[in-house]
Subunit: 309 residues, 4 copies
Amino acid sequence: MSVRIGRDTRGVYIISATPFTESGALDLDSLDRLIDFYLEKGVDGITVLGMMGEADKLTPEERRTVLDRVLARAGRDVPVVAGVSDPGLANLADLGKYAMDKGAAGVMVAPARGPIKDERIVGYMRQVCAALGPDVPVVYQDFPQSTGVPVSTRAILEMTRELPQIVMLKHEDCPGLPKITALRASETDGAPRLSILCGNGGLYLPQELGRGADGAMTGFAYPEALVETVRLHAAGDADAAEDLFDCYLPLLRHEQQLGAGLALRKHVLMRRGVIASATLRAPAGGLGAVDIAELERLMGRTERRLKER
Amino acid sequence: MSVRIGRDTRGVYIISATPFTESGALDLDSLDRLIDFYLEKGVDGITVLGMMGEADKLTPEERRTVLDRVLARAGRDVPVVAGVSDPGLANLADLGKYAMDKGAAGVMVAPARGPIKDERIVGYMRQVCAALGPDVPVVYQDFPQSTGVPVSTRAILEMTRELPQIVMLKHEDCPGLPKITALRASETDGAPRLSILCGNGGLYLPQELGRGADGAMTGFAYPEALVETVRLHAAGDADAAEDLFDCYLPLLRHEQQLGAGLALRKHVLMRRGVIASATLRAPAGGLGAVDIAELERLMGRTERRLKER
Amino acid sequence: MSVRIGRDTRGVYIISATPFTESGALDLDSLDRLIDFYLEKGVDGITVLGMMGEADKLTPEERRTVLDRVLARAGRDVPVVAGVSDPGLANLADLGKYAMDKGAAGVMVAPARGPIKDERIVGYMRQVCAALGPDVPVVYQDFPQSTGVPVSTRAILEMTRELPQIVMLKHEDCPGLPKITALRASETDGAPRLSILCGNGGLYLPQELGRGADGAMTGFAYPEALVETVRLHAAGDADAAEDLFDCYLPLLRHEQQLGAGLALRKHVLMRRGVIASATLRAPAGGLGAVDIAELERLMGRTERRLKER
Amino acid sequence: MSVRIGRDTRGVYIISATPFTESGALDLDSLDRLIDFYLEKGVDGITVLGMMGEADKLTPEERRTVLDRVLARAGRDVPVVAGVSDPGLANLADLGKYAMDKGAAGVMVAPARGPIKDERIVGYMRQVCAALGPDVPVVYQDFPQSTGVPVSTRAILEMTRELPQIVMLKHEDCPGLPKITALRASETDGAPRLSILCGNGGLYLPQELGRGADGAMTGFAYPEALVETVRLHAAGDADAAEDLFDCYLPLLRHEQQLGAGLALRKHVLMRRGVIASATLRAPAGGLGAVDIAELERLMGRTERRLKER
């Protein structure tokens, strides 16, 4: 598929986990099943090699392997975005070019660590865009809780204006609802439209949609919750969207715990029969018996509640 | 009331907001109504002058005024804990002694900013306890997202063993569920019991109770939600507790947004007819029309859902 | 003296320590001697109640007492700037107005903690200026290592343009040399001139002067080093200025250690016979025998080197 | 050379820069010259692939290339330590094993980002040691200003006791002088000795040696300054050591600016005729004309002062 993401992209781009065997090797069969699962649940796109994809623990070859595999499996069905963040700009650009050559729909970049100054961040993205070339659509990942690099609304607007290839904001600044409102308001003042897909596990998704977000880009282990919430909201039924979303909220909030959530997410994906093992690459905390019992109880409650609707 | 908090204290200690008039003056009539409201909703204790009480924006006199007023109104009914955190140890101790003389049940202290080293933090609490005197029960507020000072489980245990007057942990490290499990497990290994009341707006309350927490110390604007959740859980019906809690969760999660939640909380308290104005002391962001509409919609959804039970 | 600081202010504004007795009480006799010492050493101004003045450990009354005392002692001789930073805007403005009424030449403000966003910080300073009134000259303290709030060069320019009463930058961003160059370059593009006095203990003072800074605002315990360095530089002899500065550099670098330097500084002031006790208010680390021997050896080396010139 | 670092290792381990051509490719000829330069200046060891070696901007192949080249050039003369820090434990261990197979004397590891809790960090180092195998000597890099992970003295002691292969501390916590004293004091209480080599550009080297450090592990572009300071100090002449050191201090302090120093360092190495280009890999700020003039003036002053001795 030669489709690329753009400033009007909408829907749910699931952040794909990267499955490993119990010994920590890439588990490509599980990856296939995971991609099929995401497609079956109706996602509009897939983002691979994000933070939740443990990309920084993969070798460059493994990153390419994952990308190849996902593009082969899903690339004809939905756009695939490649996370390419890297401390080195050349490494970033190499992976980005590889991804685009292989058929990716765009790349996602979080700003490199460094001084928290708008000029530095805008300058960094300028360098990123130049290194990638002007034809590569870029998602700016605004996730200060993890990157350590907050950025102001106006710096985002500055990038948007100057660098047309920055087509999308992965919005996960927190608290971040007013940022969506401010960005949308700027459009009525003539700023170019930016696609806004929201992260943070989806914790505020109904409110984000209400403020003008275009969807979600996150990795909740029940992707159907995100898909259906966004679909109902787009169809104009905000209350039905939120009624459904609220059924999942207890589990979603649990999974969203920063720094702990990925282990939970992979466990759910394993329990749902999608991936063979919930293993994370070291260093990473695993789940103890108490964690698992607590999580599975929440899964049970969620499924019961869905049935009772 | 001469009751003091201790290592077996349980229940819901509501963190009281501090009401202001629209011009930013203390609104003591609203404070009276707020305290009555908390008592009517069945809280087991009240904590004043916490972070959410905007204590650091009050003058020392105002802090004493708030304390006097709350003790006069509620001190015969429930234990009142006084937040006394301060960059200066002498100021901290002065307020702590004042509070205890006036009938407070204990004081709450967050560690002063400084190097993030267990030794430094334990040493700081040693100084705090010495300055307060051994008869003053102390709550250690473990809220690194706000204080910038994370502390390890074993440093908490070290304080607990060495300083018997540290009787309670205000638990709001995040992710922090395993910390509760680790602390409770240490008791079976002979560590002294610590009362654990949980903060973070209550976002993980059912799970925290399931892991052995004794209740909540937080400020959700529907205190009845916390009270009833804790009560049902203590009565052995964890599922009923969580069913009820989940009705409030969409709003609770919204209010819990770090750095934005207090404005929401005060607006809810105003809309519920408890306080006259939702004003925060400057510097503080207020709510715009979009924020208010969003919040009130969530209130409406919550109340509808409670009715439909 | 009714002189106020302005955008052309130059020289050395010493940051005054606040002397305490060994029991931690204000030591006003030592404060008098300290002020006399600063004046004898030729400082151009004095800043009281800064971070190094332990202002956040004083009560509001004590702050006023210190201010009164310093203004009475030095206010006819040199401009006195009052640090008024406070988590609450009303408290900040109250102290600022008090200081100006009593004859201060301006106030110094560091941004309140909060989201690291240029808009937020500019907005905060807008509120500060409005609360103080337009006649009060303001020093913006740019010290992210301590405040946790970095700010970009362009946000400083934005404040400078919009808020004429922000007349001075206390420059201590680090690394921060390019910021001086950028600010001075902006003036040739029409931005209003800002007085720039540098902090960080003076660690980069010759370079800062070389880039266009107007002097120093810091608290090195040998103020004569700062005064003479700035004087020689202003007289056009940058090499002589730096030759002198370098004699002090080993000690200055030692004293500048962030978070440890104030104890060293007060010890030097005590050893020089200026203040009676090197006591810091708790919580604060004191000096051990090793620390003292190391420091006094450095003092000895410095004084020997000065003699050998 | 099959020598490995151990708990008694002393001297100056220079942190090697990684030279690039102007287009950003590895410049192996310059690397050879740089290693020869370090050896000529008398360093006791060389550390490659540290933070100042821009290791995180190299590909895994490039890291191996650098390691091979340095080991071939210097491995028979001095011990070579390989920086192997990596977000992924498997990648870290792979590079560590490669380095040891090729003749490295040990590896250096900074803790992965994550919760700032002593238990987590000790647990992480336990995992690192297990993954490397017990025969690999490990340097623990304690550099919280850059890693975001402070660690307490007692956690270091805990590692030292439990994991005999952790033989060295790269000490660059700041302020960090008391940590050296505390570690050395613990040895008289029976804790195993740890080699302590100090970083931070050498800014406090005489004081660190005075407190019992074994030398330096840092990258100042005049390695002879570090070598001679350590040699004179070891010979018992602390004053002569510091007299020499102080000649370099103005430049050393300038080069030590966190986040800006590497560009300065590479420029000095280029001006001294050692490497062909001062290029840093992107993203990285370069030097402007003002920066270069300022730096070269400081070089000139340093060289003049050395001549005048």
